[in-house]
């Protein structure tokens, strides 16, 4: 980002209010994380200690007691919570019950695959949504518009795990042009990315369409038209570029939620990301992994939200801070 853009923003809104606003936002992140950790701790505490779930049904009372003491579940509430928070601060969520290694490192190992999938989904979503949204905005209330609007409504309504299964059925089982699941080649990412990208593109299409329709009614567009400017230039240079700011924000926000929302798709396609790890952990009642995963997801979402917010305000200096 060229530095003059920042300067502009500062001048328009006052340097102080902007810095204060972002300082406030940054300071909120640890607070929100603390609340999340408290919620999770309470939940686990109220639900009873997880020891009984982890040991087999025929474990003797002594065994359960020993195990409970070893994990610290016999200590009073505030001691357990204090201990827990101290560990969370240094990033220690304990060892995974299944694998016996640090839960956080297990989650971080899986993160690149999830981010890769989220990025691919975003690219597919944009590739579908922008042409569809622009076309339907340029020709509103025509057949093309109805089809585009209908498609985006369906895209929003289709549960993505079913879409994934149907894609496997069509492209892997019947046509045999795509692998059923797993990783290895570029082909492996196509179906899961389409699965996740569809719902995303539905949202973006609607946004592009409504923004473009609004902008195409502006005075400067009429001026450009009366000047005899070519319609393609008007659509892309004058209108589309101005509709981009909210589109970028929504896309980034959606990508953030994808990082924490692609569980079932990852599971269906055996994609080795965080989602697959989490679902396995839920089946195995592996609490350290789940806690670590919730934290990593929350941090990513909070940072992405902050980034989006900064970007939004930098791209559109008219926004006020309060």
């Amino acid at each position: 980002m060229p530095p003059f853009l920042f300067q502009d923003t500062f001048k328009l809104n006052g340097e102080d209010s902007m810095l204060k606003y972002f300082a406030f936002r940054v300071m909120q992140i640890p607070l929100v994380l603390l609340i999340i950790s408290f919620l999770i701790f309470i939940l686990v505490y109220i639900a009873g200690d997880p020891v009984a779930m982890m040991l087999s049904a025929d474990a003797s009372p002594q065994e359960i007691q020993q195990f409970r003491e070893a994990l610290g579940f016999d200590r009073p509430f505030h001691v357990q919570f204090g201990h827990y928070i101290m560990n969370v601060i240094i990033g220690d969520f304990g060892a995974s019950y299944q694998y016996g290694v640090s839960a956080l490192s297990l989650v971080l190992d899986r993160l690149p695959a999830t981010i890769e999938l989220a990025t691919a989904s975003m690219i597919i979503a944009i590739a579908i949504a922008i042409p569809l949204g622009v076309i339907s905005a340029v020709r509103p209330n025509t057949l093309i518009d109805s089809i585009a609007t209908g498609l985006s409504a369906i895209g929003k309504a289709v549960p993505n795990f079913w879409l994934g299964i149907m894609l496997i059925l069509i492209f892997a089982v019947n046509l045999k042009v795509m692998p059923v699941s797993g990783t290895g080649s570029w082909k492996h990412i196509v179906l899961p990315a389409i699965t996740l990208g569809t719902a995303m593109s539905a949202e973006i299409t609607r946004l592009v369409r409504s923004n473009m329709i609004e902008i195409l009614q502006q005075d400067y567009i009429r001026t450009a038209k009366s000047k005899g400017q070519k319609s393609l230039v008007i659509i892309f240079k004058h209108a589309f570029r101005n509709s981009l700011v909210p589109v970028i924000t929504i896309t980034l926000l959606q990508m953030a939620s994808l990082v924490g929302g692609s569980f079932i798709t990852e599971m269906i396609f055996s994609w080795p990301g965080v989602g697959q790890l989490i679902i396995q952990a839920v089946y195995e009642k592996d609490l350290p992994i789940i806690q670590a995963a919730v934290f990593v997801t929350a941090i990513i979402i909070l940072l992405m939200n902050l980034l989006t917010d900064i970007l939004y305000r930098v791209l559109d200096p008219r926004i006020k801070y309060n």
């Binding site: 369906i154 309504a157 549960p159």
Partner: protein, 311 residues
């Protein structure tokens, strides 16, 4: 012309009569608007059909949905080779009639959809009213709680709950409800913030009306239409969450029938019997689409301010 009858009414009663008449005009207007909106009408029809199917399931379903028929395992649907009109949508791996199972499955979707929205709505509206009306520290606390819930995707929060709780219908309703109240809280808080500055609320406060009465009599009725809109729209999301969790085996437990469970059973037979996983998915998509259409139409009619606002 003012009739004699009307002259004898107290101002209060006359007022009531006028409001009544306005209300009936409002309903007529609503109806005419509904007939104009194609998607709204379609949505309403789908939702009505869904309720009809769910309520009268025992009368319209051709078979007992849990009846195992080993003589007719994996029969294809009527129109494909080997299918018959005895089982229009075919049978599953245990010979159970798929159409009957889809009909009964609608019940779970509706129950979980509506009940969890009630749970979420109650929690969210309460927090929203309290935060918006009292402001200050209470508002701050509630909003930080909202931030915390927003930072974790709903389904991930559900998974955390389901790790420590035993799955089942009640658990599922509570878990989805408790994890999705944030939307309501934000909406209601925002509207309460502006409502509490209105003249009539200030007047009521000056007259010494209790906070409880102001909230329930003067503020809550004014946010109802927004709550109705957002509740309708979020039933759609709830139905998808329910079927996702049931698909994973963490939601509804067999022998109770859920479209999500049917999908996960059908997934095992994808290579040979496509119809097992296809039809329940169509049922979910249709249902969700109908609810979204109805909800968006309601939003346009009841709450024109929020047009274009995302749920």
């Amino acid at each position: 012309m003012v009739s004699r009858n009307q002259l004898e009414l107290t101002p209060y009663e006359a007022d009531r009569q006028v409001t009544k008449r306005q209300k009936s005009v409002k309903y007529k207007l609503l109806l005419s608007k509904l007939l104009k909106s194609k998607t709204g009408l379609l949505g309403l029809l789908i939702v009505l059909a869904l309720f009809f199917v769910a309520i009268f399931a025992p009368f319209i379903s051709p078979y007992n949905p849990n009846e195992i028929n080993t003589a007719k395992l994996l029969t294809p649907p009527a129109w494909s080779a080997g299918g018959s009109f005895e089982h229009i949508l075919g049978t599953d791996n245990l010979g159970r009639d798929i159409l009957s199972r889809i009909i009964y499955g609608s019940r779970i979707s509706i129950i979980v959809g509506i009940m969890s929205v009630i749970v979420a709505g109650t929690i969210g509206v309460f927090f929203g009213l309290v935060a918006g009306y009292f402001g200050g520290i209470i508002d701050n606390l509630v909003m930080r709680l909202v931030d915390a819930f927003l930072a974790v995707p709903t389904i991930l929060f559900c998974l955390v709950f389901l790790t420590v709780l035993n799955p089942g219908l009640t658990t599922l309703i509570l878990v989805i409800g408790v994890t999705s109240w944030v939307m309501y809280a934000r909406l209601v808080r925002g509207e309460t913030l502006s409502l509490r500055e209105r003249e009539y609320v200030k007047a009521a406060r000056t007259m010494g009306v209790s906070n409880f009465k102001i909230i329930t009599r003067h503020i809550l009725p004014n946010v109802t239409s927004s709550i109705i809109v957002i509740s309708t729209l979020s039933i759609a999301g709830t139905i998808i969450t329910e079927s996702s969790l049931s698909f994973l085996g963490l939601g509804i437990q067999p022998p109770t029938i859920s479209w999500g469970i049917m999908l996960s059973e059908g997934r095992e037979y994808l290579a040979t019997s496509w119809w097992l996983a296809t039809f329940p998915g169509i049922a979910i998509t249709m249902t969700v689409l109908g609810i979204i259409f109805l909800g968006e139409w309601l939003r346009d009619v009841l709450d024109p301010k929020s047009q274009g606002m995302k749920s």
